[in-house]
């Protein structure tokens, strides 16, 4: 038996440059709308200008006569979607839990709803013709104002039905114990609707290869789930639907679901029997692909004078549409974050005449931890205690919610490392006491956590005759660098240079993998890649037995056995450890802000972020992911808000000039540190997810720094300057 370690050279230790770097910097990486087809047609959506009511009539005759127009589809002439139920006469409002059906009936559920689609030979012709489609509505009174309707919030029907739902009312210890504590605080925190707004708008090219065979080049975060969804919607055998999503220009959650515009493009391509390209205009990115829901949270907290938490109550109300529930982890962090004997949580939904929200980076926890970590800061202030000391004092050494040990937790080490690198010891305790060049200076910090998610994943590894390796899995890369990390994992197991590994993904015909969401890609697919490469290595070792020489190369093993290639396929998934341990990623952020006293202008001057996610696979790309999360959190804290004109139920921030996201000048250098200690209880690679904890807590750290700088506690995001003067 040959020692596998002798088979080939070992991997280099340095971080890998992004494997798709060259194609991305040269503009040769192909995103969804960039595939070339003869006979390509262009689709443009016509969307509703009212928030609730009915379409009385659609006059498309002028548009139909416009040059280049091929078809105009709406509910009156739709060829129909096979997976939709028969339309009721008269039309009935869809019950809660019904995904939006495009061009289905005359009912309007939200402003911006697609009501017609124009397809033309050119984009310009389609845009013009879309402007000629006349839609007359019967307007009904709508409700889009969260604050005005908050009293109507209720427990989601699906939660009421399910006793085991994590969103059931939760009480640990004594309810309302905070009221009897020595020191108590009570505060309400508001997060406005925020949008993902990836730089690449959502786009699709739909191509029917045959009457029952569909290929879509689509921007999404899961080719397999998109394949399943489209197969069901168009009543096709799953294997007849192919979804290609090789490069995705950011998504942050907006691509987890298959949205109505995708279905519309597929429908039009079917009708025309020609490829149809649909790229959402930036304004449609506000009403077509979900958003982080408007959320109001109330936290009540009690502690001893020594700073020990006695009780937390955390109530959250999130926004959803009239046709679907959208549940988020909003209040869940309060159950697990601190060693606190009395914890109560309540979670309610408020249905409004809007489109359905969806998961946005750090879903639920980014929202909930803004409230919890702001409240802890408020409590520390009430106690006249250092906020870091407060967190160290109340550190949960085991999971207080599930009464289980953590699989691994180095949060204390994160706190201490971050504090040291940041220079936290220089922080004056009193707010508004530090100044620099006429600016108020504030130091703030917050914790981060996100649950561990690992889904069953398959991967295939192929050793080629020249000793190079192809690894395949239907996973995705929306930006973090999946291919780079997977190449690294494969290279390590096989003992080859990572440059000799090619990782293929973003194609639904590859082995089953989950979509890229919930920080699950490395834990799930990374494990499958590890396992399949072990399997391939074992096959090669077996073949090497009996060969002359002690250390044949992979290429020689294949040559000796007259093989053009050798492959292995494996599946990897969680085992009973999920019930024995509580698994989370942890982290913390330290932020320095400068605030101009006269204008209230806030500049983030320094950020140190620390993460405890088990083993870091490729530090270079991981750092970028951490930096990106912090940047997203700064946007959430200081500028992002989707503002609606409730007279019309329509967003008035419907472009990137009015929906502000951070620009170069808003972002300083960001320092990233990792504990980098493998957690071998969670999976064979010892690695947990990073994408979400990078943003969770950042908004609170910024808000806490602003409080420290100014003495003003802003509980309603974003912290814009008028709130500080």
């Amino acid at each position: 038996m040959i020692n596998p370690k002798n088979i080939h050279a070992s991997e280099p230790d340095a971080s890998l440059d992004r494997v798709d770097g060259p194609v991305k910097v040269t503009g040769t990486a192909k995103y969804s709308a960039e595939y070339q087809f003869g006979q390509l047609t262009y689709a443009v959506l016509v969307t509703s200008s009212i928030a609730k009511g009915k379409i009385k009539s659609i006059n498309a005759s002028k548009a139909e006569k416009a040059p280049g127009v091929l078809t105009i589809i709406h509910h009156l002439n739709s060829p129909g979607i096979p997976g939709y139920p028969v339309v009721k006469q008269p039309a009935e409002r869809a019950p809660l839990g019904t995904a939006f059906r495009v061009f289905y009936d005359e009912l309007i559920y939200f402003n911006g709803q697609p009501v017609a689609m124009v397809v033309a030979e050119t984009f310009e012709q389609a845009v013009h013709a879309a402007s000629l489609v006349q839609v007359v509505y019967e307007v009904e009174e709508h409700q889009t104002d969260f604050e005005a309707n908050i009293s109507k919030a209720e427990m989601a029907p699906s939660v009421r039905r399910s006793k085991n739902s994590p969103f059931q009312d939760y009480d640990r210890g004594t309810t309302d114990a905070w009221k009897n504590a020595e020191v108590k605080i009570s505060a309400t925190y508001t997060i406005p609707t925020q949008h993902h707004q990836p730089l690449e708008p959502h786009a699709i090219i739909a191509v029917w290869e045959a009457a029952d065979k569909l290929t879509v080049y689509d921007k999404n975060q899961g080719v397999k789930s998109a394949q399943g969804n489209l197969a069901q919607t168009f009543k096709l055998p799953r294997e007849n639907v192919k979804v290609i999503s090789k490069f995705i220009g950011g998504a942050f959650g907006s691509g987890i679901r298959v949205w109505p515009h995708t279905v519309a493009a597929v429908l039009a391509a079917k009708k025309l029997n020609r490829p149809v390209k649909l790229v959402l205009g930036r304004e449609l990115m506000f009403t077509s692909v979900g958003y982080r829901p408007y959320t109001v949270q109330k936290i009540e907290m009690g502690a001893t004078k020594a700073g020990m938490l006695i009780a937390i109550t955390h109530e959250g109300i999130g926004q959803t549409s009239q046709y679907e529930e959208h549940l988020e982890r909003t209040i869940l962090a309060s159950r697990a974050m601190y060693a606190c004997p009395n914890v109560s949580t309540r979670y309610r939904l408020l249905s409004l005449d809007v489109n359905t929200p969806t998961w946005m980076r750090g879903p639920g926890d980014a929202t909930g931890m803004f409230a919890l970590e702001s409240a802890v800061d408020e409590m520390a202030f009430a106690l006249n205690m250092d906020p870091l000391e407060m967190r160290l004092k109340n550190h949960a050494d085991s999971d207080p919610e599930r009464n289980l040990p953590w699989s691994a937790k180095s949060l204390k080490a994160c706190y201490l490392l971050g504090a040291e690198k940041f220079g936290w010891k220089n922080r004056a305790l009193a707010p508004r006491s530090m100044k620099s060049n006429g600016w108020l200076v504030g130091y703030g910090m917050a914790s981060s956590l996100y649950g561990f998610h690992r889904h069953p994943s398959k991967a295939k590894a192929i050793m080629l005759a020249d000793g190079s390796v192809v690894v395949q899995s239907a996973t995705m890369d929306i930006g973090p660098g999946t291919g780079t990390a997977m190449s690294r994992i494969a290279a390590k197991v096989l003992g080859v240079n990572p440059r000799k590994v090619r990782f293929e993904m973003g194609d639904s015909s590859l082995p089953d993998a989950p979509g890229q969401n919930g920080s699950s890609t490395i834990p799930s697919v990374g494990s499958a890649v590890h396992v399949v490469c072990e399997s391939l290595r074992n096959k090669l070792v077996t073949l090497a037995e009996g060969m002359p020489g002690t250390s044949p190369s992979y290429a020689n093993i294949l040559k000796y056995h007259n093989l053009s290639q050798l492959e292995a396929t494996e599946e990897s998934k969680s085992g009973p450890e999920r019930d024995q341990y509580s698994m989370y990623s942890f982290g913390c952020h330290f932020v320095e802000v400068h605030v101009k006293p006269l204008t209230g202008e806030v500049h983030v001057k320094k950020v140190v972020t620390c993460a405890d996610v088990g083993k870091i696979i490729n530090e270079k790309t991981a750092r970028s992911q951490s930096i990106g999360g912090v940047v997203g959190g700064i946007g959430m804290a200081l500028m992002e808000a989707s503002v609606m004109d409730h007279r019309y139920g329509r967003y008035i921030t419907s472009d990137l000039a009015s929906y502000h996201i951070p620009v170069h000048a808003d972002i300083p250098q960001i320092e990233v540190h990792y504990i980098d200690k493998p957690d071998m209880l969670v999976n064979p690679i010892g690695s947990k997810g990073l994408g979400e904890i990078a943003i969770v807590g950042v908004a609170a750290a910024v808000a806490n720094a602003v409080f420290h700088a100014t003495g003003k506690r802003v509980r309603e995001l974003p912290i814009t300057l008028e709130k500080l003067i």
Binding site: K24, T26, G27, T122, P198, H664
Partner: protein, 211 residues
């Protein structure tokens, strides 16, 4: 290739070009309102002009050093000309409103938002896109630096960042971290690669390499 253009551009030129752009825009708007059937028979009805079957307009343009004689719909933006007619999809459509910078290209050596530029206004102009900045086998120094500093994640804003970065250096506005941050702020990155982008630009600027 980038060598066709001067390494430094006078800031005054920028303003001149802006004035020219405004003048041209005004001229075009004037045409659209004029009662004469400039766009052909179907345009007789003034109301129909913006979207009628506008007669194609001849355009002579140089793209990445290749001269092209085209006949195009006057409504086509430079961005859509590149992406939809010339299959040069390296230039990205992010917002179509000039608010994100993803569509940045060089026109006669200046950084220009191609989504806000009508293609027919580029008569005899020299356009350089990301495909003309460097090649897979011969990367531009900025492209190499972006890879080294990991100045991107999803890669969608990257071509625009690179085209803008080249001009930022040529304009003499890459003297410090703060200056780069200011003069690159028209190029949005939602993945948040900003610090890495700034580090890449600063390194290329300080190396003194020709961009």
């Amino acid at each position: 290739m980038a060598e066709e253009f001067p390494a430094e551009n006078e800031p005054a030129l920028l303003h001149e070009n802006r004035r020219l752009f405004l003048k041209q825009s005004v001229t075009l708007a004037g045409l659209a309102l004029a009662p004469t059937p400039f766009f052909g028979p179907a345009a007789l009805n003034v109301e129909e002009i913006p979207g009628g079957d506008a007669e194609n307009v001849k355009l002579s343009i140089s793209v990445n050093g290749v001269k092209k004689s085209l006949s195009i719909d006057p409504r086509v933006t430079l961005l859509d000309l590149l992406r939809e007619r010339l299959a040069l999809t390296g230039t990205k459509k992010g917002c179509d409103f000039g608010q994100c910078g993803a569509c940045t290209v060089h026109v006669d050596g200046q950084r220009v938002l191609s989504c806000l530029s009508l293609a027919v206004m580029q008569q005899d102009k020299k356009v350089v896109t990301i495909e003309g900045l460097g090649k897979l086998d011969q990367l531009h120094p900025l492209q190499e630096a972006f890879i080294k500093h990991d100045g991107f994640q999803c890669g969608y804003c990257t071509p625009g960042q690179l085209m803008s970065a080249a001009c930022c250096i040529r304009e003499g506005k890459a003297g410090s971290e703060a200056e780069i941050q200011e003069y690159m702020s028209g190029n949005l990155c939602r993945c948040g690669a900003y610090p890495n982008i700034v580090n890449a630009i600063l390194e290329v600027k300080n190396s003194g390499q020709k961009v």
